[in-house]
Subunit: 230 residues, 2 copies
């Protein structure tokens, strides 16, 4: 399975969360990272044909961006309007994206609990992302459960560790997140991660994850049976 | 009441619907039309201070745009991200937009009936515009019932006539759309419309509206009583 991660961030070098995600990208030919603002300036035309070929060549399309004003940065919207054209993305005859998977990786500055009725933001992420769900629907793509990263700067080390796993799984894993699929994926993928890129802390984190999984395998098996019977 | 209409359309000269709306703008100092793409090019910085002053000087803020991919064109998103800053639009101390009214004027290419579960688009306009409702909520503005214009090119003359009225009312009318408020508003406002700008057809349209209202005043009063008792 080939995954295309379309990142939109106007100042990616200054973003701690985006840099952490970039350093966590699995080193495999099956993942293509494509940062729009790093590819096109505001006044530069988007290479529509090249973008459409890129989409066609991948099975899972992910949009990764900071959730500014409950939506994407302007560059990603521009990309949508110029690339997802009738006759390519939708229309009577052609559905070039049909059957692919589509997902969001959102970086959000406000705590998760505020995104509900009665919370400070008032609306759930599931409601605010309706336009993206509609895009998936119109183009015939399957909308994946999103990866939403709340308040990255306040994350503790073990939370970042869990994020790394969820991110790598979003990029390369089976869309199923059953416990069995997760466990298998975690062991397989983490052993392939390029540890040099993660630095000393990241390397320790990986070691800890692997040994934790091994220690808890029996518990995981029990949990799995429990979940399967629910 | 002063109304600011922020229009975002990348090719406004070629848009029949936008040109029709522009020709229908009431000739009054209380309405300010502000076309973003006509003010700033893609590579030009947005004058944030000037935009914030413009917002502060108006009581009703309207976003008018073609509903591309279930959202605004990229320029309006850029404007949101750069102008609606913490410390101005929201934050602990300052809420400069608080108490204002906020509304959407959407031009949509697909028929209204498709915007529902089971329809071709699958989601209601009310669901797809959640991000804008969240903006109103966060900035303390009252979210108005939107004016959604479906399939303008297929509209019949009497439908365009009705649209003209609804548009003018959105720009200058009381937010209440009770029958009484509508009737009073229609008679007052239409008599002030600059007929030269509308051309011969528009002029005829206005005449017809005014005489229709006069003929049906009794019926309207009855309907009003009926509605008030519901």
């Amino acid at each position: 399975m080939k995954t295309l991660v379309i990142i939109s961030h106007p100042e990616i070098d200054d973003s701690g969360s985006q840099q952490y995600l970039l350093s966590s990208v699995p080193q495999t030919e099956d993942v293509t990272i494509h940062h729009l603002e790093g590819t096109y300036s505001a006044s530069q035309p988007i290479d529509v044909e090249k973008e459409q070929q890129l989409l066609a060549a991948h099975d899972r399309i992910l949009f990764q961006f900071p959730f500014y004003w409950y939506s994407s940065p302007p560059m990603l919207k521009r990309w949508q309007d110029e690339v997802l054209l009738e006759g390519f993305a939708y229309g009577k005859r052609t559905h070039r994206l049909s059957g692919k998977e589509f997902g969001l990786i959102l970086v959000v500055g406000v705590p998760e609990k505020e995104y509900q009725a009665g919370g400070r933001e008032g609306f759930a992420i599931s409601a605010l992302t309706t336009p993206f769900q509609a895009i998936a629907r119109k183009t015939g793509m399957e909308y994946l459960k999103p990866l939403v990263i709340f308040q990255f700067p306040y994350m503790k080390e073990h939370e970042k560790m869990a994020l790394l796993i969820r991110y790598q799984q979003m990029l390369t894993g089976d869309k199923s997140d059953s416990l069995k699929a997760r466990e298998e994926w975690i062991v397989e993928q983490l052993e392939q991660t390029d540890r040099n890129l993660l630095g000393a802390t990241g390397d320790l984190v990986l070691e800890e994850v692997l040994s934790t999984i091994e220690d808890n395998r029996l518990t995981l098996d029990e949990l799995e049976m429990l979940l399967d019977n629910m």
